[in-house]
């Protein structure tokens, strides 16, 4: 294969994004042309990415970029989740003062950035992919220009994100100084040759790398931005930030720690164990106190990131597969929850401003207003709580098994205890939807394709929980 066809998904998507960008200038504000063009380019990119799932691992562009089993599987899921994100966002953006064309264009750029992160074999391309993603996200949060909360969230996100990028770059420069290589394989070989004693400069850099990664994932104690950004950002942007980028951040974690610095595993295992324990505890306990559902989902993200890290703490291939499974299933389960919120955000309030479903009380009696939305939300919630036979149960089981096998029983105990505490706030949502009286009794109608998308998404949460091997086989192959 020549190098152009190796990077075909990215090359196609970036070209298509430029076409969408130009097309968005010449379409009317409320037409769906830009939306359909974006979806079409994602579908074609999905086909390209799917075509690579059977390809032999190969590295191109002088070691900058490569495909392997992990990258192609993650890319497929990234794009699937992104298609869902665009589908659910479409009707929300219509009628609100948010630049729709720019939303889709920036989302496509962010997706390209994630795909580059996933396929990176080089510190510089990891960093550039991350920046492409992050810059698009900062701008997307600020797209609601007349909203003071969104501007505040964008400012916080930008300043803290820049700080985290600085940490990451500092760590990368230290690792480069210690090993003399920017390629991940070169770093691995240099650290192995240097041995544990000679690798102190690399470990110094590793600490900063972990800070940067933990920030991008939103792990405690680097989680402060997550609730504020979710709350302030327009709901479709919060959905975008909450779903696909977590898959990309997982890939970055694997690339930097497992691919580049496996020899320092005893160092990063301890650091990740602390991050995981804190995230699971803080995420689940603070979520109970939230009345804003976006903030609640933010703390849910934090606790799920803790579970994701549990899989990696053990430093075993089974654990990495379990964490990969967790990242993928978390992304599409959260996608369903946000999709319901967006479907609810229709009509106007009394004062004429567009209605946003952001408080828990907005969900009261949802089952009587729209049965499908309530059912999908219920499936997402019990899956996030980890109830069998949902996919979230199998994901939690897999990471817990990995962490117990690796000898971190105390960590597994904390995680299980905390997920019991966390079940409270997930189940509260179901109680609100099914057993409380609705404040507004009007029925909620959703567009046909959105309903179909939500139904498929909800079904996937159940069916993939019963047949997890559909994803798990690919995850195991990625680290075989």
């Amino acid at each position: 294969m020549d190098s152009l066809s190796i990077a075909a998904p990215e090359v196609f998507l970036l070209t298509a994004t430029c076409i969408v960008l130009v097309a968005s200038l010449f379409t009317k504000a409320n037409s769906h042309t830009v939306y359909w063009l974006s979806q079409a380019s994602l579908v074609v990119t999905l086909l390209f990415a799917f075509g690579q799932t059977r390809a032999e691992p190969v590295v191109a562009y002088v070691g900058a970029y490569g495909i392997d089993n992990m990258s192609s599987t993650l890319k497929v899921w990234l794009i699937v989740v992104a298609i869902g994100v665009l589908l659910y966002s479409r009707d929300y953006l219509t009628g609100r003062r948010i630049a729709r064309g720019e939303y889709f264009v920036l989302a496509l750029f962010a997706i390209s950035g994630m795909m580059i992160m996933v396929s990176s074999k080089h510190l510089l391309s990891v960093y550039l992919g991350l920046e492409l993603l992050a810059l698009s996200q900062y701008a997307m949060v600020a797209l609601a220009r007349d909203d003071a909360d969104a501007s505040e969230a964008a400012m916080k996100y930008f300043v803290l994100g820049a700080l985290a990028s600085g940490m990451l770059l500092y760590g990368m420069s230290m690792v480069y100084g210690a090993t003399g290589s920017l390629e991940l394989s070169g770093i691995r070989d240099a650290v192995v040759v240097g041995g544990a004693e000679g690798s102190v400069p690399a470990r110094f850099g590793l600490t900063f790398l972990i800070v940067g990664i933990a920030f991008k994932l939103g792990a405690v104690p680097f989680h402060m931005w997550v609730p504020d950004v979710y709350e302030g950002a327009p709901t479709p942007v919060a959905m975008f930030i909450a779903t696909a980028p977590k898959i990309a951040a997982f890939a970055m974690l694997i690339r930097l720690l497992v691919d580049a610095l496996p020899a320092l595993n005893s160092d990063w295992q301890a650091m990740l164990a602390i991050l995981a324990a804190l995230s699971v505890v803080v995420g689940n306990l603070v979520a109970i106190a939230q009345t804003n559902i976006k903030r609640m989902l933010a703390y849910s993200t934090i606790s799920n990131v803790g579970f994701l890290l549990l899989g990696i703490v053990g430093a075993t291939p089974e654990g990495y597969s379990a964490a990969m499974f967790y990242a993928i299933t978390y992304a599409f389960t959260t996608l369903a929850a946000f999709g319901v919120l967006l479907a609810l955000s229709r009509g106007t309030r009394e004062d004429g401003s567009p209605f946003d479903a952001v408080m828990l009380d907005d969900l009261a009696g949802l089952a009587r207003r729209n049965g499908l939305l309530a059912a999908v939300m219920m499936l997402a919630m019990i899956s996030l709580a980890g109830v069998p036979p949902m996919v979230g149960f199998y994901a939690k089981l897999a990471v817990l098994r990995a962490v117990v096998d690796a000898g971190y029983t105390w960590l597994a105990l904390i995680a299980v205890a905390m997920s019991v505490a966390g079940a409270f706030y997930y189940l509260r949502v179901i109680k609100l939807m099914y057993f409380d009286e609705p404040v507004v009794t009007t029925e909620i109608d959703t567009a046909g394709d959105v309903s179909a998308g939500l139904a498929i998404n909800g079904l996937a949460v159940v069916v993939l929980g019963i047949f997890p091997s559909f994803i798990m086989a690919a995850c195991l192959a990625a680290f075989a």
């Binding site: 900058a64 720019e102 210690a178």
Partner: protein, 211 residues
């Protein structure tokens, strides 16, 4: 200590001093000028590393273009720096504490025996006098780092899109000129011929008494 080391420390001290002054002086114009000094001295350090292309670019792009633009903006806007510095004294102890702790930790780690020369790859050898830094940079940039170079270009495109999306406002009451229409004008569009039958009588009427 060789001359090169002495020169390096001299420039490094100026960089640190002027960077510190950028954030401590009250007048934003002085802050911008100190930033210019920082860039100049940084480019001198690039020279010491035999990276003359980067040194020249730093002066041309940052000092010549970016900072001049920056000075223009600073001079045109009436920036009131007092509210920006409000929390400075309040947060200084905490910031200083964290900074000092980090500094001590890093110094402790870096001055340990682990950070010996032997722990690092050998330094790059000095190049000959006729070696073209610019040419080599071009080769590396467009051959070895082509992929990263392209992504950097995409990031710039995202910056353009984001900047325009966040700042451009369509204002319906703004009046635009349409040059094509202006040129295309016919005599009949502008001038209407009227006949005023009693023109001579009007001008002849005495006006002194009415005003």
């Amino acid at each position: 200590m060789s001359l090169e080391i002495i020169v390096f420390y001299l420039f490094a001290a100026i960089v640190v001093f002027s960077a510190f002054r950028v954030i401590t002086v009250n007048n934003p114009v002085f802050a911008a000028l100190f930033l210019v000094l920082t860039f100049f001295t940084c480019s001198a350090i690039w020279m010491l590393l035999e990276a003359e292309f980067l040194a020249i670019t730093l002066v041309l792009v940052y000092v010549g273009a970016v900072m001049v633009l920056f000075l223009f903006v600073v001079m045109m806007l009436d920036v009131n720096v007092v509210p920006l510095k409000e929390g400075f004294v309040k947060y200084l102890p905490v910031g200083l504490f964290v900074g000092v702790v980090m500094l001590i930790e890093m110094v402790f780690l870096i001055t340990q025996r682990y950070f010996r020369d032997a722990d690092f790859p050998p330094p790059p050898r000095m190049t000959d006098a006729d070696f073209s830094n610019t040419e080599m940079l071009g080769r590396v940039l467009y051959r070895d780092y082509l992929f990263q170079f392209e992504i950097a270009a995409i990031i710039l495109l995202v910056a353009i899109v984001a900047a325009i999306a966040l700042t451009m406002r369509r204002r319906p009451d703004t009046k635009y000129q349409r040059p094509a229409q202006q040129i295309d004008i016919q005599r009949a569009d502008r001038i209407r011929m009227v006949t005023t039958p009693n023109a001579s009588a009007d001008t002849a009427r005495p006006e002194g008494g009415q005003s």
